[in-house]
């Protein structure tokens, strides 16, 4: 099927997914400071909200004591929401029934379903006593399961201020107002990467302006606030903190996240703010994955798994004699792990595994080792010159091994491969192959908003992320919260944007389009040719178990 030119252009651009935002090594000098709460005048109810949901607020740590004991525990282990529900609606669990504690419930007299004892209505004073001393407004002790919380007077006032508004339309996460939702995006806008960052900003602004002019979602328009970031873990974390704490954004979108970003991920987890569609290549998914980061495309690890799936099923490729050559650094180690894990789980004989330190690749000796091991197919992950050098070496020797690697690893250097090797080279392509019809909305947007699409590699996924974010808001309804939006994302199945493959998330699934297409090289046309349907790699049951490498037989 002939793919129209515009789509070819997209495909090409998206294929060179080394992308402007190649990962760099991390240099973490300073751990981030302790989170001390909002800057400036804090809304009492906002702090009370934090106490209710997370057991912590501004000021000294909140602690609790269980009835009939003096055992002290931090309130973060038993926040109110765990028992009384995230909307104060109460729960029933194992024979106990923590009641609903919304303001309208507290202001009414009630009868406990458990003890059948009646109580009169609460007022602020008696409510405070319930929280700190465990007695109801009539003075009778509450159920022993209710802890006695130790808070300062201010914290108590703040918690009660929140209970006044819980489960009402005022009970909103930061970044939401009746008219708007605020998102944050941090990117390099200066320096050599700046043009990419600027392109993303123009794309997101065009998208959300379009949405605002058509009425928004549930009457809310969406605006994006941008922050300058560097490309290392520390600067990225600082940019995120600025957006979350100072600008009080509801969620993060797009953004540059280096492959190794432990500080940033830890901060996001603690702040409980979701990030949709980071524009950088995702790292290997953890088990369980980071809850708050939703990746759209597969990274090196999963793409490498696709290579093995493809090799295992393609009639042109051998099923034995697999060798891996890899540059020993974080990025290429992930790819190598992907190949190994998939071979371990599903078979295929590995005969050689050769790693080399950066800058010291020796094609001749590598070739010799590969030959001695009776290699029949080569999986290689390294710097582009290294791949070319090895390919040239074996091409000169008249060998016709197939070469398998991730599309973004070799990029446009693929066209420098010797013709014979190029004819037997197979690359992953983890993004979409849209028809013109599927791209219609983007082309219309670009035309109507005069958006220059000059960095499709970043603008494409950014627009996809925007569309997916809006879909989550639509499915959540007017009562939007971060957790409700995450729940909606986890139910998303095969959602199409045209710019990335159909996206599905799940309870523990945070890679939207898991898998890739396979591409061949057309050197005459200087283009890549996708030639397989989408391949989703099977899930290895054992991760991390290595198959022993067969030592080459002595001749």
């Amino acid at each position: 099927m002939r793919i129209p030119l515009v789509v070819c252009g997209w495909a090409l651009a998206l294929a060179s997914l080394v992308c402007v935002f190649a990962p760099e090594s991390v240099d973490a000098d300073d751990p981030p400071g302790v989170h001390t709460g909002a800057v400036g005048l804090a809304n009492a109810a906002k702090r009370g909200r934090s106490i209710y949901h997370r057991g912590e607020g501004a000021g000294p740590p909140v602690r609790l004591v269980l009835s009939s004991s003096d055992l002290e525990l931090p309130a973060t282990s038993f926040p109110c929401s765990n028992c009384h529900g995230s909307n104060g609606e109460g729960t029933v669990e194992g024979g106990v029934a923590p009641p609903a504690i919304r303001w309208r419930d507290l202001l009414a007299p009630a009868r406990s379903p458990l003890t059948n004892r009646a109580r009169i209505a609460y007022d602020r004073t008696s409510l405070g006593r319930a929280i700190t001393d465990g007695v109801d407004p009539s003075g009778a002790p509450l159920h022993p399961g209710m802890p006695r919380y130790q808070l300062s007077n201010t914290q108590l006032d703040e918690l009660i201020a929140y209970l006044e508004v819980i489960d009402t339309e005022y009970d909103l996460d930061p970044g939401i107002t009746p008219d708007s939702i605020r998102l944050g995006c941090f990117l390099p806008f200066e320096g050599e990467r700046g043009s990419g960052g600027d392109a993303v900003r123009r794309a997101l602004d065009a998208f959300f302006l379009d949405l605002a002019e058509s009425g928004g979602v549930y009457g809310r328009r969406i605006e994006v606030v941008y922050a300058e970031s560097g490309t290392d873990d520390t600067s990225v974390t600082l940019a995120a903190r600025q957006l979350i704490e100072e600008e009080e954004v509801f969620a993060l979108i797009g953004s540059f996240v280096p492959m190794d970003a432990p500080l940033f991920l830890a901060y996001l987890e603690q702040a409980r703010v979701p990030l949709i569609g980071p524009l950088t290549i995702p790292p290997r998914p953890k088990l369980p994955p980071d809850r708050y980061v939703f990746h759209l495309l597969s990274g090196h690890y999963d793409q490498a798994r696709v290579l093995v799936e493809f090799a295992a099923t393609s009639p042109e490729l051998p099923k034995t004699g697999y060798s891996i050559v890899w540059l020993d650094d974080g990025v290429h180690r992930e790819a190598r792990d992907g190949v190994l894990d998939q071979i371990t789980a599903f078979g295929g004989a590995l005969v050689a595994e050769i790693s080399y330190p950066g800058g010291s690749f020796d094609p001749e000796s590598t070739l010799a080792t590969l030959l001695a091991a009776k290699t029949e197919a080569v999986f290689m992950f390294g710097a582009q010159p290294d791949l070319i050098a090895l390919a040239e070496a074996w091409s000169v020797a008249g060998i016709d091994w197939p070469l398998l690697t991730n599309g973004s690893t070799i990029g446009r250097a693929a066209f420098e491969l010797p013709d014979a090797v190029a004819a037997r080279t197979f690359l992953t392509y983890p993004s979409a192959q849209p028809t013109r019809k599927q791209l219609d909305w983007v082309l219309t947007l670009a035309r109507d908003r005069e958006l220059r699409v000059d960095h499709p590699t970043q603008q494409g996924p950014a627009l996809a992320a925007a569309k997916i974010f809006v879909e989550g808001v639509k499915r959540t309804g007017l009562r939007l919260s971060r957790e409700a939006w995450i729940d909606a994302m986890e139910r998303l199945q095969f959602f199409e944007t045209g710019l990335v493959p159909p996206v599905s998330f799940g309870l523990n699934q945070r890679t939207g389009a898991l898998g890739a297409f396979m591409m061949r090289i057309d050197p005459a046309a200087n283009s890549f040719v996708p030639f397989t349907p989408w391949i989703t790699p099977r899930d290895p049951k054992q991760v991390g178990v290595r198959v022993p490498v067969q030592t080459p037989e002595k001749p």
Binding site: G94, G95, G145, Y218, G219, K474
Partner: protein
Amino acid sequence: MIATLGVLTLLALWIPKGAKCGEPDSPPRAVAPAAVEPALPRGQPSRPPLSQRFEKEGIEVTLTVRPLDGADRLVAGAEVEILYTVREATTGEPITGLHPLSWIHRRLAPIRPSIEELKELISTFLGGLLSVRADIDLNRYYLLVLNDDSSVSVIDPQIEFSKTKLYQMMMLEGPGEAWCLDDHGERLFVVVSGKARIECLDLTTFESLGFVEVGEGNQPRDLILEPDGDILWVGLDSSNAVIAIDTRTRAVLERIRVGVGLHRLAMTDDGKTLCVSSSRSGEVVLIDLATRTVRATLKTGDRPYPARYSVASRLFYVGHAGEPKIVAIEPESGTVRATIETEGPLLALDLDPAGRFLFGCDLENSTVTIIDVATHLPVGVIRGVKNPDHVAFSENFAYIRSVGSPSVAMIDLSRLERGEMVMTDLSVSRLPAKDAPSSSSIASMIAPTPEGNAVMIASPADRLIYYYVEGMMASMGNFQTYGRTPRGIEVLDRSLRETAPGVYSTFIRPVLAGRFDVPIVIDQPRFIHGFELEIDPAPDSVATPVAAPITISPLFRGEKVLVGETRKLRFQVIDTATDAPVAALDDVQVMVIRGQGIQQDRYRAVEIEPGTYEFEHHFPARDRYQVLFQVPSRGGTFRDLPMFSVPALSKTEGKPWEKPKPAPTPPKPAPDAGKGGRR
């Protein structure tokens, strides 16, 4: 990881003062042993607690029984909530999306059933035999059918081996026009317009609780319940009013003036605001339900009529019979948030369960417009329908009922979410509804079943109710309406429903007292257990026997019966009060049912010794044979007395399994180079 309240209770109750509990930062992970099911030796009659937990193979199931009146024990006749909490044992994570099956059955044998006996009991309940139904089946649902002849039928779609599925019939003073079930499925309110009354029916006993007179000529019609079920609002079409009725006392609490014309009612999900349309005066009135006063009156257009509330956008939507538009009204402020243009006027509005998609039916022009409430933009217009008058929903599909066609149009809701309108025409009835004009009402004619993927479709002209399972090409079967023309259908769900993550519950009102077995079966992950309950007799009950005065002790238990044998089986009839065998009974009857009812034999047992009786039965095939007993003179029926299962085995069973000798391989034919082709 959520630290449960159980953990707190445990720590509060069990840790002595002054004890330290290790790392204060890591919450204790132990699950509360305080609520462990007591390991009763068989035969011990100690009262089972209201909360019992059992763990097996990583699954933890807790049965909680909660008397609604707050009592600390179960009493016959008192409403009880039954909850099963299902969790992974190690992490405490609730396991959602299950469909547990459970029953409550009086235990007549003096001892607790073994796991084998429990499995037998479960398999008989699953078999659906009329004679061995559980006392309380937690998996049932009934169909309620509003008929045009002053009656409401209760149909049990699950009875097998019975002539009729008609379970009960409730009579009204006149034909019902509209109706409303309360949330718990305990009460039904039916508007009998011609008699100007609202009838209140008890769905646990299927009897009338009384009625409310609203005054002649007032023409009550549309009705809606406040969320806690205590107050019912009814629109009076001939008077310009709505009234509030206390459902417990059946007193009219309030009468509020609204506009002139026909009224439709809608309510916010938090029970704060009522919206009333008045078609003739073109008004929409918002009523504050806390104070029962009018909060706002709006003039929205020409003949506002259908009204609904969306939980997604939290707005009221009012369609118009006189002009092509829908207005979206904000409940608190009464402001019009949006005006949505449609192709034509609308007589009905319906929303999917998530409140996201608004379906507007234009009966006259035969179109249905679908609006996405997130953007208030139309998704599309369905045209392949003939006089659509309302839309019902299962979890996955919208079902458009058209008066002019025997077909039902199905719209895939998940595709709608992706912006695609995909319609399937479902051929159900033979005749269109318009052939049965007496069926006209505002009640829905399509009801989803509790499974989530099936619907019951009432066809008034056919006088049948069709059962359609999604994915099938046609209905799976149909139910009689017993000669009556249906005007409305509702499903009365008596099954365990997931009311919170991992919590499956329902309400029951036990009628009998005694000790009960409560088996529960979960299919995936596999879990079987038998809990138990003790129910006290009602304090003012006439001396209904707590247990049958007799029980059966099978002496044939454990005997191996072979296929083809004719065997004499012996048993004793035991007086439960004295534990002694009862002699000289001359009406001891035995019924033996083979398998699931293939064959049934009845015998009169013969007394061979005082208290010991015998009958003879032939076992023709390898199967399970259920043996049931009846002694009418002592009040023991086939239903009440325990039942026992006898397997008939073939001769080779029970012997050590022998590896069959390999059959000798035939010699390979010599290859014949001349022949081509493959075998």
